[in-house]
């Protein structure tokens, strides 16, 4: 028989081997050769920390006591893995996009980065997992006691269970501290730990399979005889507590998702989402193999070993009884592996939670300078984690001592499961329901947890240990419906089912009702949208308004948490991405978010959020503030756009006014010029008329010819005056709208003919007038005389002002459905742009011509056309001018 010392020696060698494996893995990871460390196989094997020493030893004991019920503990996780598509896929994606470090971090981040919630979940997890750690101590101690020989005369084991438990706890604590807190960033992932637990997963599987194969083929003699033996045994018929079968399947599924250590390996240590898909069938295979030989071992143990042997230890005691010491040692190592891997990961996960959500916030709030005080915070965090590990294992030991190390392993494990399963409503509600609120989660968690403590945890110490026996008989203070095993007076439920049923039911109901009644804060709503719609946008919540944050302060803070070189590298990369050459990037919102995520990997979401917010403003800038600011800015934006519209309108009006003013000024100048001109115009003929009339009056001896000549001069000048006055009168009449139009119908061509002849009669005959496209049958119905006046004016203008060597005027007619356009195109000097606006104004004169015009012609034309319902425009040309007279079509009739 193997001595205790040999066993301790083997265990130590085994632990040393694990250390070597972990160390080698971390070295490989540092060198960047970590590809093989992160394979789907390693991921699947790391999930096997679900199978703890409880599973390893306890399952056989469970089977020996309750038949097939033990298998429910594996069915739940198998269903979760097979249904990975529903929950795990989303959890893993959220975990990666939000850089979640633990289950408390997940729940806290979902409900508005609430630290209260994080602390409560952390405390619940610590309390919930404590029995589980006690369970590991108990199984390893029990297994050791088997090797130490039979109980002596006083009924005591050769091994003192308390001191053995103490040494096992101490060993596990040292082991975990050395393993798990070598590096800080939880999201840098514990390569060494993951590899070590993968190795342990193989060891425990091999050990259990070896014992199983030995039992089936070595003892029973094959599958057929084994089955016969099973049917013939006390376990031979199907026996089932139906409520337990269903409840435990659901409970184990819930615990699989909620246990902090499972969350750690499932989500935090996950490297690739595709690994989850492979694990979806590979991990059920592992679970199947782990549970395959449980019933055979139990049956053979019950057959072979004396009545009263502890069935929890059949895995070790059966080979030992058969003289297979080597197999027994292997089996012990399997159980030892299960215990160590579970304790390492569980305490690591819990210590991360404790240090991030409890110790660091307290530490930071105690330091007056907040996150900006001097010194390396990393040491504080590491110390906090190490102390948390010691604390958690110490709690486990205390529970072990208090519970007397006597309860069946499975019962203790189920208490733990029920405790952590309380996270499930808040967790699933958080990732599937946007309406879930912080208060809802808080009240659900607290109520569920309270019911669990009252109905499951406290009674587990035994009646009269914590709760007086009277509670169980008549209820607390005589309140019958509050008996711990019979809420609302419903007797006869299995205690575990009772606790699970009522705690989860109340938890869920309160969670939903309070969520429906309360209103979430803005940050909660942001995070809720991010979590629920994680597949639509894997981006980050927008948070920081950054211009006030000083990069240097951020750098100092980041150095203390991430480490100097890591922080510098991060800042340098960010600066480079922003296209800057220095070491300090601009504190853009994107950079601050990234920094917050990096920090949250070390200190948790809520703390990182608080730290960055301390840096970003003198006072912390909450998202509420930002949203308020955003609301205000939206209002201001609207207001300012209204203002903008108004100001645009004003400036348009101002432009028009300026234009009008310019026009007025110009007109006034022109008017002055015209007055000068018209005085001159009036005066010149008047002067000649006066002079010649005086000559004719005073001079004597004038010949008839001379008299006639002088009289003609006077006549011509008088006509000129008359014409000028006529024009002025005409314009005045037109402008005042007093003109009467004599509408008549006639051919357009005739009007043009008349105009050309009339105009040419008074010209020098140099202008060549051609006509194009003038259909002879085009009839117009309008005031033909007035239209003719316009045409005459245009032709006369061309005659007067066309300075080309061979002046040419082309008249063409274009007709469309509505209008008839008559174009007068000459080849003279184009009218300058500056003058174009004025040519149709009264008294406007573009070129200083022969002085015979008074600048009224075009003004009259425009007035006439306006009266006729048409228009006259000038179209600038590269060479020459085009005047277009538009006559409305309704006054145009086609000829017969």
């Amino acid at each position: 028989m193997a001595s205790l010392n040999l066993l301790v020696g083997v265990s130590l060698v085994y632990v040393a081997f694990l250390f070597a494996v972990a160390f080698a893995a971390e070295r490989a990871a540092v060198r960047g050769r970590s590809g093989w460390l992160r394979t789907p196989l390693v991921y699947t094997l790391s999930l096997s920390i679900y199978c703890t020493a409880w599973t390893f030893y306890g399952a056989v004991g469970y089977a020996a006591r309750s038949g097939m019920e033990y298998v429910t503990i594996y069915l739940g996780p198998s269903l979760v893995m097979i249904g990975w598509w529903w929950v795990l896929r989303k959890l893993v994606r959220i975990g990666r996009s939000q850089r979640v470090t633990s289950v408390a971090d997940l729940i806290s981040a979902r409900y508005g980065k609430s630290n209260t919630l994080a602390i409560i979940v952390t405390l619940m997890a610590v309390v919930g997992v404590t029995p589980y750690i006690a369970l590991q101590l108990q199984s390893v101690t029990l297994a050791l006691s088997i090797f130490s020989g039979p109980p002596d005369a006083e009924g005591l084991n050769g091994l003192n269970p308390l001191s053995a438990g103490f040494w096992v706890a101490g060993g596990l604590a040292v082991f975990t501290v050395l393993f798990g807190t070598r590096n800080l960033n939880a999201n840098e992932r514990h390569d060494g730990v993951v590899i070590a637990i993968a190795v342990e997963a193989v060891v425990k599987l091999v050990a259990l399979l070896a014992v199983g194969i030995f039992v089936v083929w070595g003892i029973a003699g094959g599958i057929g005889p084994m089955m016969e033996r099973i049917d013939a045994s006390a376990l031979g018929t199907w026996e089932l507590d139906r409520s337990r079968w269903a409840a435990l399947t659901v409970l184990s599924a819930a615990a699989f998702l909620c246990l902090p250590r499972m969350f750690q390996v499932l989500v935090v240590e996950n490297d690739d989402e595709r690994h989850v898909q492979i694990a979806s069938w590979a991990f059920p295979v592992y679970l199947l193999l782990m549970s395959l030989f449980v019933v055979p071992i139990a049956v053979v143990g019950l057959n072979l070993l004396p009545a009263g042997s502890n069935p929890d230890l059949f895995v070790v005691s059966v080979p030992l009884a058969q003289g297979q010491t080597g197999l027994a040692v292997l089996s012990f190592l399997g159980g030892f592996s299960s215990a160590t891997s579970m304790v390492i990961v569980a305490t690591l996960a819990l210590s991360t939670m404790v240090s991030n959500h409890v110790v660091m916030p307290i530490y930071l709030s105690l330091k007056s300078g907040g996150a900006s005080m001097s010194g390396d915070v990393r040491n504080v965090i590491l110390l906090a984690r190490r102390l948390s590990i010691l604390l958690i294992i110490a709690l486990g030991y205390v529970y072990y001592v208090l519970s007397g190390g006597s309860g069946a392993l499975a019962a203790i494990g189920l208490i733990s499961f029920a405790g952590v399963a309380q996270f499930l409503p808040a967790m699933l509600g958080g990732i599937f329901w946007r309406g879930a609120t912080r208060l809802g989660a808080l009240s659900g968690l607290c109520l569920g947890f309270a019911i669990w403590v009252y109905a499951s945890l406290l009674p587990s110490f035994g009646q009269d240990a914590v709760l007086p026996a009277s509670f169980f008989e008549v209820g607390p203070f005589g309140i019958n419906w509050l008996r711990p095993y019979a809420f609302f007076g419903i007797d006869g439920m299995d205690p575990t089912v009772h606790a699970v049923f009522w705690s989860l039911l109340m938890n869920t109901c309160v969670f939903i009702v309070v969520s429906l009644l309360t209103f979430p804060k803005p940050l909660e709503r942001l995070q809720g949208a991010q979590f629920v719609n994680v597949f639509d946008h894997s981006g980050q919540a927008r948070g920081w308004h950054a211009s006030v944050a000083a990069s240097e302060d951020l750098m100092i803070m980041a150095q203390r948490i991430l480490g100097a070189s890591e922080a510098q590298a991060l800042f340098r990369t960010a600066a480079r991405e922003q296209g800057m050459t220095g070491h300090l990037p601009e504190p853009t919102p994107a950079f601050l978010e990234r920094l917050e995520r990096e920090l949250s990997a070390s200190v948790g979401t809520a703390t990182a959020h608080a730290m960055v917010s301390q840096m970003v403003g003198a006072a912390s800038v909450s998202v509420e503030d930002l949203l308020a600011v955003a609301d205000e800015s939206a209002q201001m934006l609207e207001y300012s756009s209204q203002l903008e519209a108004k100001s645009a309108e004003l400036s348009r009006t101002a432009g028009q006014l300026r234009e009008a003013n310019e026009k007025l000024t110009q007109l006034s100048v022109q008017k002055d010029a015209f007055l000068g001109q018209i005085s001159h115009e009036l005066r010149t003929p008047m002067t000649s008329i006066r002079a010649f009339s005086e000559i004719m009056r005073d001079a004597e001896g004038l010949s008839v010819a001379e008299k006639t000549k002088y009289a003609s001069i006077i006549h011509v000048e008088a006509i000129r005056l008359t014409r000028l006055l006529d024009d002025l009168l005409d314009l005045s009449v037109l402008e005042n709208g007093q003109v009467s139009l004599n509408s008549a119908t006639g051919p357009l061509e005739a009007v043009l003919d008349h105009a050309v002849i009339t105009a040419q009669a008074s010209g020098d005959g140099r202008l060549r007038v051609t006509r194009d496209n003038v259909a002879g049958d085009t009839m117009v119905t309008t005031d033909l005389d007035r239209l003719g006046q316009v045409f005459i004016n245009l032709i006369t203008n061309a005659q007067k002002y066309c300075r080309a060597a061979a002046p040419h005027l082309e008249i063409s007619v274009h007709a469309d459905a509505k209008r008839l356009a008559v174009e007068f195109r000459d080849n003279g000097t184009p009218i300058p742009d500056a003058a174009r606006a004025l040519i149709f104004e009264k008294f406007a004169r573009v070129a200083e011509g022969d002085g015979s015009g008074a600048g009224l012609g075009l003004a009259i034309c425009r007035e006439i056309m306006a009266r006729l319902g048409g228009d006259i425009t000038h179209v600038p040309q590269a060479a020459g001018n085009v005047f277009v007279v538009q006559i409305p079509r309704r006054q145009v009739l086609a000829g017969q």
């Binding site: 198998s78 269903l79 097979i82 249904g83 376990l235 399947t249």
Partner: protein, 93 residues
Amino acid sequence: MARGPSSPVFLERRSYRRRRLQDAQRLLPVLGMLLWMVPVLWPTRDETGHVTMSAAIYYVFGVWCLLIGLSFGLWRGLKRKVDEGTEPPAGDP
């Protein structure tokens, strides 16, 4: 399994097959739950027509193997479809 408004109404044959495989994947845990809850209906020790332990073991582990096989098959099928298809894996829940 609602699609967004921008999703096409009809899918080409390959995407259609892939979506149906995904549906199967989603329904697999429901099937597992149903099959594993069947033992609740079995008569127990004191009742007539009780089931032997060996039969129970064969049944529970048989369902287990079936589910693992189906899960494995779906994983293989989807992996091939994703490798073949140009469309990225659907993100709708």
